[in-house]
């Protein structure tokens, strides 16, 4: 369990990225922080592995204040996946996946063997192991990034807009892959995105952030749609307009779900 207690982040130049945030991130679930630029969602994520230290309040992992843990040790125990994969361009795929275990002192042979298994896990062919990141497609790089994040079998996996830079088709694929993986592994996933659809798709808990680093609402997707906390949330999730205001229409004896603009959104199967 990860807990933010009255967390504030003010940068030396005076801007406040996060203001007095209290939130509990439940274990073995996916929590998605969603908001536009400047809402402080990435700052919150980075406080978990001490890439950023809060200027007020505490971040606790299983009851331990992260401020008391050596940052390098902390990071080696938490999976991290970022946009553009963040792979080391000068190391082969296999070495990238094995990076953290080897930093922790695992023997190279052992780390490599495990890395190959991880490539299977994320749906990559083992023949890619000896390539360099620049020789992979964007989607493949992201998968390697996920494999690296899983390499030390962390309880916590931080994902910072991991699918932000790939095209929509690959993105949909990666999202499904993540759902499958999470179904098997049950990690505590903290995911940051600005895409509300992605948040609703992946999140067990969705945290909607607004400008200035304040939480507007934290709840399950269904709860948010049913009871948006305020006008900002309602507007952000589009509950009262466009494609979320759905209604049914009959076409050739089947029930088609149609949005407010008349675009078909799906089929109702009983």
């Amino acid at each position: 369990m990860i807990e933010f207690r009255g967390v504030t982040k003010q940068f030396p130049d005076g801007t406040v990225a996060v203001r007095d945030v209290d939130i509990v991130i439940p274990p073995h679930k996916t929590t998605v922080f969603v908001g536009s630029s400047g809402s402080g969602k990435t700052t919150l994520l980075r406080m978990i592995n001490r890439m950023v230290d809060p200027s007020g309040g505490q971040v606790l992992i299983d009851g331990t204040d992260v401020a008391t843990v050596d940052p390098v040790r902390l990071r080696r125990g938490i999976g991290y996946v970022m946009q553009n994969s963040g792979l080391l361009p000068h190391r082969k795929v296999i070495d990238n996946v094995a990076t953290v275990p080897m930093l922790r002192g695992t023997k190279k042979r052992e780390a490599h063997a495990h890395a190959l298994e991880l490539l299977d896990t994320v749906g990559l062919d083992r023949s890619l192991a000896d390539r360099y990141p620049s020789q992979l497609s964007g989607g493949q790089q992201q998968r390697v990034g996920v494999a690296r994040g899983l390499a030390v079998d962390p309880n916590i996996l931080l994902m910072d807009e991991p699918f932000g830079a790939v095209d929509p088709i690959v993105r949909a694929e990666l999202q499904q892959e993540l759902l499958r993986l999470q179904g098997e592994l049950g990690k505590t996933v903290v995911f940051v995105t600005h895409d509300i659809d992605e948040a609703f798709l992946l999140g067990d808990q969705v945290v909607i952030m607004q400008q200035g680093g304040k939480i507007s609402q934290a709840a399950s997707p269904a709860e948010i749609l049913a009871h948006p906390a305020d006008a900002f949330v309602a507007d952000f999730v589009g509950a009262d307009r466009g494609k979320r205001a759905l209604h049914l229409t009959e076409v050739d004896g089947r029930s088609i779900v149609v949005d407010a603009d008349g675009r078909p959104a799906g089929v109702l199967t009983s």
Binding site: R75, R76, G77, Q83, G86, P89, H90, K92, Y132, S134
Partner: protein, 234 residues
């Protein structure tokens, strides 16, 4: 050509002497420049000062430096050490800027991600930052190799033996072949060392051969062109 055949021993000997002058200077200037370049990259306030100092050093004509240096070091004018120090200073003047550019060109995302997965500060420098700056550092090293080998010949006029002795001797005795031999040998030596550096780069940085790298690599590859524009002092 008769001169060449009867003096092959001399040429061979001078090649060795020339290497003994230029190789230490090349290695020293590289080893000293990398940390200075890193400082200039890391601390913005130091950048202007360090790079301006290098530009000043670079502007000093070599012959004048060779002669002025003993006044500071107390070494003899004809001492090879004096020449090696001067050549090292020139090498530093050239590589520091490239080294700063090399570190600038390393993608911040990659460094951030290295930190995020748990590299320590020093581990990150040796394992990530330095290797990724490698290709641009190599381009700077190559410029220094060529200019140092060429510059070392100037020492001959103040009495430090090198392939340049073939120029002074050939000029005084009116033997053109001797001078041409010296020019060819100097260029050949420069190309040989350059080739060795490229080879070492391929072995140490295998990823640079693995197709086009993305992102800022394009900026980094712009540097050799600018280096070419810097030309060479003499």
């Amino acid at each position: 050509m008769n001169w060449l055949w009867s003096n092959l021993d001399l040429v061979g000997e001078l090649i060795i002497v020339h290497l003994a002058l230029s190789v230490p200077a090349i290695i020293l200037s590289f080893v000293v420049s990398v940390p200075i370049g890193w400082l200039a990259h890391r601390y913005r306030w130091s950048r202007g000062v360090l790079l301006s100092l290098c530009a000043l050093l670079y502007a000093i004509p070599s012959l004048a430096l060779f002669i002025a240096l003993p006044a500071f070091t107390g070494l003899s004018l004809r001492s090879p050490v004096n020449l090696v120090i001067a050549l090292t200073l020139y090498g530093i003047a050239v590589i520091v800027r490239t080294a700063a550019d090399a570190f600038d060109a390393v993608e911040r995302d990659v460094l951030q991600s290295a930190t995020a997965v748990g590299y320590s500060a020093t581990g990150r420098f040796w394992g990530v930052e330095l290797p990724l700056a490698g290709p641009v550092l190599l381009s700077g090293l190559r410029v220094v190799i060529v200019s140092t080998v060429s510059l070392a010949t100037v020492g001959a006029v103040i009495g430090v033996q090198s392939l340049g002795s073939l120029f002074t001797d050939g000029f005084q005795r009116g033997i053109q072949v001797e001078i041409v031999t010296g020019i060819v040998a100097t260029i050949a030596l420069a190309l040989l060392l350059d080739w060795l550096a490229v080879l070492a780069g391929r072995v140490l940085m295998p990823w640079t051969r693995a197709g086009a790298t993305r992102g800022r690599a394009s900026r980094a590859s712009g540097s050799p062109a600018r280096l070419a524009a810097q030309g060479e002092g003499s």
